[in-house]
Symmetry: C2
Subunit: 410 residues, 2 copies
């Protein structure tokens, strides 16, 4: 059977197909960048207006109590907890991923005294490396960056903390979260996982993995809106030992007692800092409601089908165009996006694709990246996107000044 | 003339009176808590919908470029810059006030090597003290907290940084920003001002004061929405020397080059960290448009008239009720809120007032706090609020179980 027939059949039997209508998706676009910014669900737009006009405008300051803004970070977090198999009070929504990394890296180093190395991986998301470097230089620790193959050897008795991304933001390669955690902990290191490119695209079980810490992003597969607040995970066993240095009033044990000295709140609340951005947070919270009743095993199955189908379609439509697949073919080893190194000016290729309604993104130096969000994409779109990519490459439609000009920053 | 006649006359000649209609204010309330959470302007609600539905929903990831989300933190900041007489590129909107304090306190300590003391004031906003304590304990510095009267004596040659709030969050007392800055700098300290309770209520001139750093809040007199992103100020003369440890990708010199090592951006951009919460940020940006053409001298004059009138009205309506004024009578020495210590259960008094439509707030242990936002309050409301406070106190209407029960967290 042909690709398009396969896609039609898969769409017809897709148990998640009904979720697409929950989203506002612009007509005429195939959106393969939900791994950078998920689209708004209709309920998110409604909630945002209700919170802004009704709660803020109607009840003003009283909304902190009567609309429970005060515990919105924890209510949103409880919805994320299910997605990573954590207890509701082991997750907190707060700040940005980078800020949360700072908190947890600093906390981890203090929990593993005598060891002064933060170990991470070459090619990890740059902000993760920058933040680790920032903590290290502030407190006199060091950041060691090792190639993937050399990680095990680098886990010496100086390593306090291993910081890894579950799914590589460029290649889509998936780490074995259980195995790596076990290995690093056996060497005496704590382990922090960045789930930005996996949460909402697959089953994650931080409890089974015995992860020490995790962070993740609200605006990718969780569809919380641009720059949505991020989340962090600290298991119950670590919460009362962990102290984080961004100790603002929202993390105080008695926030409205206005005491002079800081006393961390019990439990996960101590990882809050300042006043959370309620509008952005409410949008995320509404987006998270979409996951009610969604089976993550189903999400993962569809993700694998979409990415598999896309690779097959690219094999067919882009044969001979010189694309080099960067993403593992084996399902167990990849996340939910597929990347290719472009033979020439990948930036221009992506601009030409976007002009034709296929929205992926470009990552320096030469990477075409396509994300497959199982909640709203169809198999038919997946095949169509590859066909358009094939046309752009075979016709060299990308080779025009307006596509080559680096006008875009993201 | 009586108070109500005075108020009517002042309202009739109020040059800012026209601004009130820009705001959505709930009917039947006198809102004296704009110093905790300003109300939404109509344009803010419109902008929020346009950004969420039109930009996010319509253009998805492309919005970072086509709607310039990428420089929204700096565009919003330029609007704040005028309010504190800074250059546009000396201000940045980012994160929360507490997170920004962390960045600047850490940066300041590194710029004043050999000195290891952060000096602050007893009664400063607790989160400011907590954050200072957090930085100090992370890097082996110390926080010294002195009574206002003892600040000068405490400025010894160990003090690297003086951290003060321009307006005291409880009493409304106003610091002499020029004089204190000069004094501390003469002793070799850097000076960081928290403008949370002054920006948007008066003229501020950080340039004339030669302040070294400042932070401020987006959701009080700036009306940016609950938990709106905060701002920070770093004068041009310090920007390239200052390094802040929350070094996320948005502060990198080439954010989308995805380099392995951190290189701070030139100028103010290096004080960014992670992805900003665009929905909350757009609301703040829209709220800041209201200040176009507003003369801050006029704002300050009205603020002083409102607070003066309120104190006169309380003198009259609450005579003998045992209120103790905590706010300086002298205009030059106060900000834009007025506080009283309540003789008995201030919490219950405030609940009873709120039940009667006068919304102020309570601050432990016994403080009734009333904020006067010049953009939307009338003089008539100000007198009426005092009259209702008088009724509540004289009739002991507050002395009921439903007001005494501490059900509210804020």
């Amino acid at each position: 059977m042909g690709l398009r027939e396969d896609a039609a059949e898969l769409d017809a039997s897709d148990p998640l197909a009904g979720l697409r209508s929950a989203f506002l998706l612009p007509p005429g676009k195939i959106y393969l960048d939900g791994n950078s910014l998920g689209p708004p669900a209709h309920r998110v737009l409604e909630r945002l207006d209700a919170v802004a006009r009704g709660e803020w405008g109607g009840d003003l300051i009283a909304s902190w109590n009567c609309h429970r803004w005060i515990d919105l970070p924890r209510r949103a977090a409880a919805k994320i907890a299910r997605l990573i198999n954590a207890a509701p009070d082991e997750v907190l929504v707060a700040d940005s991923t980078s800020v949360n990394l700072f908190k947890l890296i600093a906390a981890a180093l203090a929990m593993n005294p005598g060891r002064r190395t933060i170990l991470s991986e070459r090619g990890n998301f740059p902000s993760d490396l920058y933040i680790a470097e920032g903590v290290a230089s502030l407190i006199g620790a060091r950041l060691k960056i090792a190639h993937t193959d050399a990680l095990e050897a680098a886990l010496d008795d100086g390593v306090a903390l291993l910081v890894l991304s579950h799914v590589d933001y460029r290649t889509g390669r998936l780490h074995d979260i259980d195995g790596m955690t076990r290995l690093a902990q056996a060497r005496g290191a704590l382990v922090l996982w960045d789930l930005a490119h996996s949460v909402g695209a697959m089953e994650i079980d931080v409890t089974r993995a015995k992860a020490d810490f995790a962070v993740g992003c609200g605006y990718k597969y969780l569809n919380g809106g641009p720059g949505a607040p991020a989340f962090l995970y600290v298991p119950a066993r670590h919460q009362d030992k962990a102290r984080q240095p961004l100790q603002g009033w929202f993390g105080h044990g008695a926030q409205f007692a206005f005491e002079e000295r800081y006393r961390p709140a019990a439990g996960i609340a101590r990882f809050q800092c300042g006043t959370p951005p309620i509008l952005s947070l409410a949008a995320l919270d509404a987006a998270l409601e979409l996951w009610d009743g969604v089976a993550l095993a189903e999400v993962r199955r569809k993700s694998l089908r979409l990415t598999e189908l896309f690779m097959r379609a690219v094999d067919e439509y882009c044969a001979g165009a010189g694309l080099r697949l960067l993403t593992p073919r084996i399902g167990d080893r990849r996340g939910s996006h597929v990347s290719y190194a472009a033979p020439e000016d990948g930036y221009a290729v992506m601009q030409a694709l976007i002009a034709r309604g296929v929205v992926g993104d470009f990552r320096a130096p030469d990477i075409l990246r396509f994300g497959f969000a199982p909640l709203y994409l169809t198999h038919a779109e997946t095949v169509e996107a590859a066909a358009i990519l094939g046309e752009v490459l075979q016709s060299r439609a990308w080779d025009r000044p307006e596509y080559r000009a680096r006008a875009h920053v993201t």
